[in-house]
Subunit: 594 residues, 2 copies
Amino acid sequence: MAQLRIALAQINPTVGDLTGNARLILGSAREAAAQGAHLLATPEMALTGYPVEDLALRPSFVRAARAALDRLAGELDREGLGELVVVAGYLDDRAALNGSAHEGGRTGRGACSPVNAAAVIHRGSVLIRSAKHHLPNYGVFDEYRYFVPGDVLPVVRVRGVDVAVAICEDLWQDGGPVAAADEARAGLLLSINASPYELEKDDVRYELLARRAAEAGCAVAYVNQIGGQDELVFDGDSIVVAADGRVVARAGQFTEELFVTDLDLPRANQPAVDATAANGMTIRRVVASADQAEHYLPRPAVITPRLDDLAEIYRALVMGLRDYVRKNGFTTVTLGLSGGIDSALVAAIACDALGPQNVYGVSLPSRYSSEHSKDDAEETARRTGLHYETVPIAPMVESYLKTLADSGTALTGLAEENLQARVRGTALMALSNQRGHLVLATGNKSELAVGYSTLYGDAVGAFGPIKDVSKSLVWALARWRDEEAERRGQVPPIPRNSIEKEPSAELRPGQKDTDSLPAYQVLDEILDLYVEGDHGREEIEARGFDPALVQRVLRLTDTAEYKRRQYPPGTKISAKAFGRDRRLPITSRWREVP
Amino acid sequence: MAQLRIALAQINPTVGDLTGNARLILGSAREAAAQGAHLLATPEMALTGYPVEDLALRPSFVRAARAALDRLAGELDREGLGELVVVAGYLDDRAALNGSAHEGGRTGRGACSPVNAAAVIHRGSVLIRSAKHHLPNYGVFDEYRYFVPGDVLPVVRVRGVDVAVAICEDLWQDGGPVAAADEARAGLLLSINASPYELEKDDVRYELLARRAAEAGCAVAYVNQIGGQDELVFDGDSIVVAADGRVVARAGQFTEELFVTDLDLPRANQPAVDATAANGMTIRRVVASADQAEHYLPRPAVITPRLDDLAEIYRALVMGLRDYVRKNGFTTVTLGLSGGIDSALVAAIACDALGPQNVYGVSLPSRYSSEHSKDDAEETARRTGLHYETVPIAPMVESYLKTLADSGTALTGLAEENLQARVRGTALMALSNQRGHLVLATGNKSELAVGYSTLYGDAVGAFGPIKDVSKSLVWALARWRDEEAERRGQVPPIPRNSIEKEPSAELRPGQKDTDSLPAYQVLDEILDLYVEGDHGREEIEARGFDPALVQRVLRLTDTAEYKRRQYPPGTKISAKAFGRDRRLPITSRWREVP
């Protein structure tokens, strides 16, 4: 057996920030070397950020990414870090890989052939460049659109241990690199990832790793990035499992850290020559350092405890918001505070993400706003410490009503209700434009699903922090956040009355959400089956729901696609967020309920 | 040789409208039979409409599509149309194809395996079901996401002629069905398509067909749908080419028609047994009618003349708008008329699409609106005959300014400019909500590219008819439309002054577009290279443009992504529309100009 100290760089890259991302990798390398690590692994496409989407098809960006990788290799060496073996995820072109990527993928008619690549850097040069083999093209992934697949498994000898390198999806699909790693008799399978957070993803991830370790016949080290990128948020959760499937070490969730682990691994016993695996992949071997490390005292392994479900979701929402604001060059946000639970939860998330000094809450009362609404909005401000101001909307609403009536159109019903929401949206945008705040939309997933929101009204905003959070989960998170504050002896940020009162849009006298919608608990169960589960009407009715209710919910959901398409991005926490992830035609006559 | 009369159904299906689309196919079959055709071909996925996007992943929709196909087969027979061989595009599941689709595509972790299918119907039953082989996954296509590919080439004997059936992309990619059709010694290769219109697509299409005819060694009949579906518009342009590449017949562009052509084709001389092609595809033969048709007098072939470029684009925009409005259940539209060229062109397109009686133009003058703006808006109304009304925005703008100032925020500069645009947007939405009009956004591609528009302001609307039309093309189309009217002795719809005056947003005194932007002619050339051509800064500068100007345009374009994402859909006429087609991260530090 041979000792190997590996460092997994759980970093937070920004898409397109080649200089900043290289700095993150260099910083990780310094720390890894200082801690005596032999091998540093960075996440998938760490140098470019993930996902780069259409930037992959722009030749100038591919060239810039290649150049940044070469510069990084040089800088590592100049800083005296050359002996550390660094595995870096980046973007390259098939032509650079010398036959290690093949046709397929990228069925487009263009000439450019980008690859989702990994480079192994040692002593200032790139020992090998390889391309991801399995290209995911479902859910949030579109990699078949952007990349050509690779067919080489790189095996790099580090301190006498053969380390096979695979990229993200290569581990999720059967066959391919995992099978080749077994044939190659690798001592360690290193998996570099940009694996987005989803509810309960950590459990799925561990089970997968245990299974793949058995198939590869060796330990598996899995490194994942953290941070928010548009609607995605990455949770880290880097893991090392032994060949027998046991968790050896596990990093934190949503924590930026260099995670160092000592492993005792089989010594390489294969000749360092290339071979072809049974599945047709090429096993390509390179040697960084053939001699094993001198014996040293291993550190105790760290297995960071998991967050509970609500803590995990709340952390995802905070990180998603913070990074969207920060990475887009903003420092402050503004939002409408209605006194209701949705805006109170968004305010709490924003204050946790950015500090209350950077959050500007605006009460926008109308003639239909109740006293408790104004009180609860003010109470949210008092509890969190955010900036608070009041802009009454009645003068603008009256002005529209009168001018339009003078022009011949009297507004009534829904048109008048929507007008109020749009006056609020316009007021928030005016404050945003004048003072440089980013506007947060406060809609939740349940109301968005059934179209219970006003386009250009409450849907106004650059980011919707809870757009993928059902109303039931909004309540659960609000209670959890308040209890968490109590556990820590802090002031609970969300007023009890906002949590407990009956939801109302307050756009007409005495209005309640239940005038238009079923109770949220039932609504959310049906939506979960229809949206996340892709179940049809009959399957949902078979679960025992009232058929008339099911039909009503499905009808509402089928007709709300246009609004969802126009909604701002927000952190995705479930398998199917609305908007960009769920792709339905706007123009469609298909209805689950004919 | 054997005679064959083929009918190509250039129809306009609606996504999800299984009943309505079946009715269209049935209507085509009636007419084809009445005209004595032996074979009717309908477009790709004619029964479901195209593209169905995530509906393909919903098992209840796949089941409904299968059931609709079976019903269609029965109805054809009951109506006495059973002898006509009907090739129908629809959606099916791999399981239904008995081994004619294989793994690959749909790399998702789900269980469902949809196929983009073709069925050959004869005498009330389905002779064979096959799946598309090449799945496009670039540009507007995401088929690798939705479908598993097929590996069977169906060859159906119709009146003694072996007809091979391929689906759309099968013709665009080398190898696969075209090569297999050659080996099968097919007498005719039938290609069913849902091929979206793009500038100059018709030329590309013909060249492709001529080449594939040579490769398949037989005549090729190509049928395409017409009509608008969200941002796509299909142009028809069905074509028949002989084995030597000569155009035999060509249908109209954007015309709903049953296109009937008589062909003289080689008699089938192969045993009707299955075989495996060199590329691994299965050639599966079925016999509908082995005996050749009794000799009849062929009709003269029709080769419809091509539209010129501007006529073609204008037709695409009219059809895209008409179908978006109609297929979404609206009959009337409203739009702001500023007196400028963009809204004047949109008004003309809307009047041509829906009739002026269904178009409601609204002048929304501010204190900065010039007299000529109001006059030109009114003149547009007078020339087209649309409904015209005036809603002054000053009262609402004043009300916002005063209320926000009272609350402590005085609006200035861009914040005040944007406010005016947003008051207009809100007023249009109020009229829309009250009276049931669909709102049209009037922004063009040039201003959208560089972010010269107001989110929730002039970007308000359910559909942006000219969002993919550059400002230079806006002028060209306006002139063309007026000249066209003169040629026909009609009133030119667009006031000369709207075409000739200098563009201005009129959001502050004396404002001109050129205060913020370069001259549109130069801007459009740079944008074309950057957006459509994916060229980098250096390549664009090398064309001789002023480097400072190039850098300014690229900087503006790189930062406008968020606005583009929020813009409503509009008819796509070029390779890269903004918004849904071009997929760039919102959060990105990558800049062509560092």
